[in-house]
């Protein structure tokens, strides 16, 4: 499956053929590609973390990346907004296209790129500032000249947090519970209105109730944003994602298809073994 995509030239046609095989809740007929990887290789020093991955991630869909630890899913996620640049030993080969432009081209400013791509981390990391300042952070650094308070309210509503914090916008973001902090981080990510939201195991540090709230939220977010989520939780991937990519050891993309297909009838035996818990 992963190999068939590399030789296509027109993205749309490929997606449409994929879509015909899938049966998903969101209609898949008008998909455009948001992010596309072409023959991507990533090395940490001498060690290869991603090995020749090519995939196309559709717009306004939730795409889940699953696989055992150390298989390169988080690395792939960090390639999209070039957060790998922060790691000095990291070397990237191949293309990652976003909005029709290779983000690794020399004329791309990674800081400007990250302003179009929101990111939510595994451990909630609100800044030690007030709730309002946390959400307004992206607006502040980008020199937003509209009504900041209005945008903060919209974002908190978008992250399903407004009702819980509307009376304490001035208190510190660190006073919230873990699940609220993670939703605050989501509000922070969506405040500057990005096109894509990357989530790196956003619920793994949360209790099940808080996690399910985040899952509901992700479902809503896909109305407006392209969501790419890394998760260790197979049920979560099955519940919330439209497309699922399975990475296995060595950083290889083994199978990438509609979620229902992956979980009901995977092509590869290894994927079935992994999903049913026989290894990994």
């Amino acid at each position: 499956m992963s190999n068939t995509e590399t030789d296509t030239e027109a993205n749309d046609s490929l997606i449409t053929t994929d879509v015909e095989t899938g049966s998903n809740e969101r209609s898949m007929t008008t998909d455009a590609t948001a992010v596309a990887a072409r023959d991507l290789n990533v090395f940490y020093g001498d060690e290869q973390a991603i090995d020749g991955v090519s995939m196309e991630i559709p717009e306004n869909r939730v795409t889940a990346l699953i696989g055992p630890s150390g298989c390169g899913k988080s690395t792939f996620l960090r390639c999209v907004n070039r957060m790998n640049d922060m790691i000095e030993v990291c070397r990237v080969e191949g293309d990652v296209e976003f909005g029709g432009k290779n983000v690794y081209d020399s004329d791309v400013d990674p800081v400007a790129l990250r302003r179009k791509i929101g990111m939510v981390f595994q451990k909630p990391n609100p800044f030690p500032k007030s709730i309002r300042d946390n959400v307004a952070y992206g607006l502040k650094i980008q020199g937003y000249d509209g009504d900041v308070d209005e945008r903060v309210e919209e974002s908190l509503k978008g992250a399903a947090l407004w009702d819980e914090v509307k009376d304490q916008l001035g208190s510190s973001g660190l006073e919230l519970s873990g699940g609220q902090q993670q939703r605050l981080c989501i509000a922070r990510a969506i405040a500057p209105d990005p096109e894509v939201i990357l989530m790196d195991e956003p619920t793994s540090a949360l209790d099940p109730v808080a996690a399910s709230k985040i899952e509901d939220l992700i479902d809503d977010l896909a109305e407006e944003y392209t969501v790419i989520i890394v998760t260790h939780n197979m049920q979560q991937a099955a519940r919330i994602s439209d497309r699922t990519a399975v990475f296995l050891t060595g950083g290889r993309l083994v199978e990438y298809d509609d979620t229902t297909k992956i979980f009901e009838d995977p092509e590869e035996q290894r994927v079935e073994d992994y999903i049913t818990g026989k290894f990994g």
Partner: protein, 588 residues
């Protein structure tokens, strides 16, 4: 062993002898350290206040009026941190503010000659315009990002400088006219325009003010009779400060409280200004100090009373001052012979002398304060800059990474270099090569800044390193540039730690003697330094000189008084910095 007798004697025993021995050894070490320091302090205090010669009645009186209420207060407040906090900030803040203001006015304002017109133009026109533009920038229109705090700082400093220059450049009579004809009508117009939202009034305020300023300059020669200095200060300074304080309080709550907040300190200050002449203090200085300290105190008091938290804490300053007064009255009425303390008002306000009775520390105190203020600014700016660069901007691997590590190791080594060597460096570099002069305040400040720079850098680096990487990544992922991440996330989070390191380093700088000897600082000067380039002495230098005097009164009494003064100033300075740090910690 445990498996052998599980059934017989429970689970057996685990030896704790070494742990217990270690615990008591640690206790012993700390007790020895604290007791040694305590004994030293007690001896010095007894010498400084001449308590050894005090009569038992005198000691008993003050024990009852001063020590007992103080201990009772400590016992009462020990359980309530809020009370302790209030007491400390009221006492420390008040002491530090009054002392700092007096010193600042006497050292910086009084001796500086009138500035030239070119400089005045720079301060009065160029700086406010810059400030205004920066302020606009901080609103996000002109400059965009990063001007918030910086803009407010620069703007505030520029306006402050401009107002200060007005005082210096115009004599007070021109300032009086300019204020009456320009500032007051302009402010009144602006306030009227704001309140009634009349736009022309607000627009007209600026030209009216300018016309008033120009008219004042021309009328200066024409008008002959002027009110006295004191009345000018009341009209141009005390009243506006009082109004500002009153407005702040009125904004929070009742108008009555606002009027009281402005009016009471104003009345006290005016009374103080007129009465000050009788005590040998210049009237205008007393007025300025009383009003600039009194109004903020009243605003603070109002807030504490309003909140009701830790109200009792404010009793401590009252207890101490009241206790001392009552003690003095009782001693006076009883006719008990009072001891003659070495540390009294004249000791801190007068110049050194040949006789022990007349010896004073004033020039050395001023010298130390000027030096330490400069050192604080220099070492903070340089130290934070270096540590931010080393921690946030240098790569960790490769040739540059190795170079960084080399620099790090060498900075750590610099912290271990004896201070005499820094003194030599200061002598060669600042005094001779750059020509700042032997034993001048600026040479001393630069030398001492270099001396504590390694400590500041290392502690600031530790503080910056302890900011979780999660926060940096979070900010980076939002599309923040490195500078934005550093400014908005790293520095605010590291600020309390940076401040702690700087405080410790400053404590070392204020007590240094060896480098001052090397750069040729005088052991004794008889007047406070008038500028940064004049000869000065510092407290430790003066104490060191006294310790070598042949007369026993110097070696025992005067030195002890000097040590206590040095300690009090050090504690006041550190206390202020710690309060600032705690505030920053609570803010985050």
């Amino acid at each position: 062993m445990a498996t052998d007798n599980t059934n017989a004697g429970g689970f057996g025993e685990v030896s704790r002898v070494r742990g217990i021995a270690f615990e008591y050894l640690s206790l012993g070490a700390s007790v020895i350290g604290l007791v040694a320091l305590g004994v030293l302090l007690v001896y010095v205090t007894i010498d400084a206040f001449d308590l050894a010669n005090a009569s038992p009645e005198w000691l008993l009186t003050y024990f009852l009026t001063l020590v007992v209420p103080f201990l009772a207060f400590c016992l009462y407040s020990a359980s309530d941190p809020e009370v302790t906090r209030r007491a400390l900030s009221a006492l420390g803040g008040g002491l530090v503010a009054v002392a700092a203001l007096f010193t600042a006015i006497e050292t910086f304002v009084a001796p500086i000659p009138r500035l030239s017109w070119q400089l005045a133009y720079l301060f009065v026109v160029a700086m406010p315009v810059t400030a205004y533009l920066t302020y606009i920038g901080s609103r996000g229109r002109a400059g965009g990002v990063g001007f918030g705090l910086v803009g407010r700082l620069v703007g505030g400093a520029a306006i402050g400088l401009a107002v200060g220059t007005l005082f210096l450049v115009f004599d007070s009579l021109v300032w009086f006219l300019a204020y009456t004809l320009g500032v007051v009508p302009a402010a009144a117009l602006y306030a009227y325009g704001r309140r009634r939202s009349v736009n022309w009034a607000m627009t007209a305020a600026v030209p009216v003010g300018l016309v008033g300023l120009v008219a004042a300059v021309f009328l200066r020669g024409v008008i002959v009779t002027y009110p006295s200095d004191l009345i000018i200060y009341v009209w141009t300074l005390a009243i506006p400060v009082a109004i500002a304080g009153g407005l702040v309080v009125a904004d929070r709550g009742s108008r009555l409280a606002g009027a009281a907040t402005g009016g009471v300190p104003l009345a006290v200050a005016v009374a103080g200004g007129f009465l000050a002449g009788g005590f040998g203090v210049p009237g205008p200085t007393a007025l300025i100090v009383l009003v600039t300290v009194g109004v903020p105190t009243a605003v603070y008091l109002h807030r504490v009373i309003d909140e009701g938290d830790g109200l009792v804490g404010l009793a401590l300053p009252v207890l101490l001052v009241g206790g001392a007064l009552v003690g003095a009255l009782v001693v006076e009425a009883w006719g008990v012979p009072a001891p003659d303390p070495w540390l009294d008002a004249s000791f801190v306000t007068e110049a050194p002398s040949r006789t022990a009775e007349d010896a004073g520390l004033y020039p050395a105190i001023v010298g130390s304060v000027i030096i330490i203020a400069l050192v604080a600014v220099l070492s903070f700016v340089l130290g934070v800059g270096t540590s931010v660069f080393l921690e946030e901007y240098t790569p960790e691997s490769g040739i540059l990474g190795s170079l960084t590590r080399l620099i790090q190791v060498n900075i750590a080594n610099l912290a271990a270099i004896p201070s005499v060597v820094y003194g030599l460096l200061g002598l060669g570099l600042f005094a001779n090569l750059l020509g700042f002069g032997l034993g001048t305040a600026v040479t001393a400040s630069l030398t001492l800044s270099l001396l504590i720079l390694p400590i500041t850098i290392i502690s600031a680096q530790e503080a910056i390193r302890s900011v979780p990487d999660d926060l940096r990544r979070g900010s980076d992922a939002m599309g923040a540039t490195r500078w934005q991440t550093t400014k908005n996330v790293v520095l605010p989070e590291a600020f309390p730690g940076i401040l702690t390191g700087t405080i410790l380093a400053l404590g070392r700088a204020i007590g240094e003697t060896a480098p001052l000897i090397m750069i040729g600082a005088a052991t004794t000067v008889f007047s406070a330094p008038a500028s940064l380039f004049s000869r000065f002495s510092a407290m430790p230098m003066q104490i060191y000189a006294w310790a070598n005097f042949p007369q026993a009164e110097f070696r025992y009494g005067v030195v002890a008084a000097g040590v206590i003064t040095l300690l009090i100033i050090l504690i006041g300075m550190n206390g202020t910095a710690i309060l600032l740090r705690n505030r920053a910690e609570r803010g985050s």
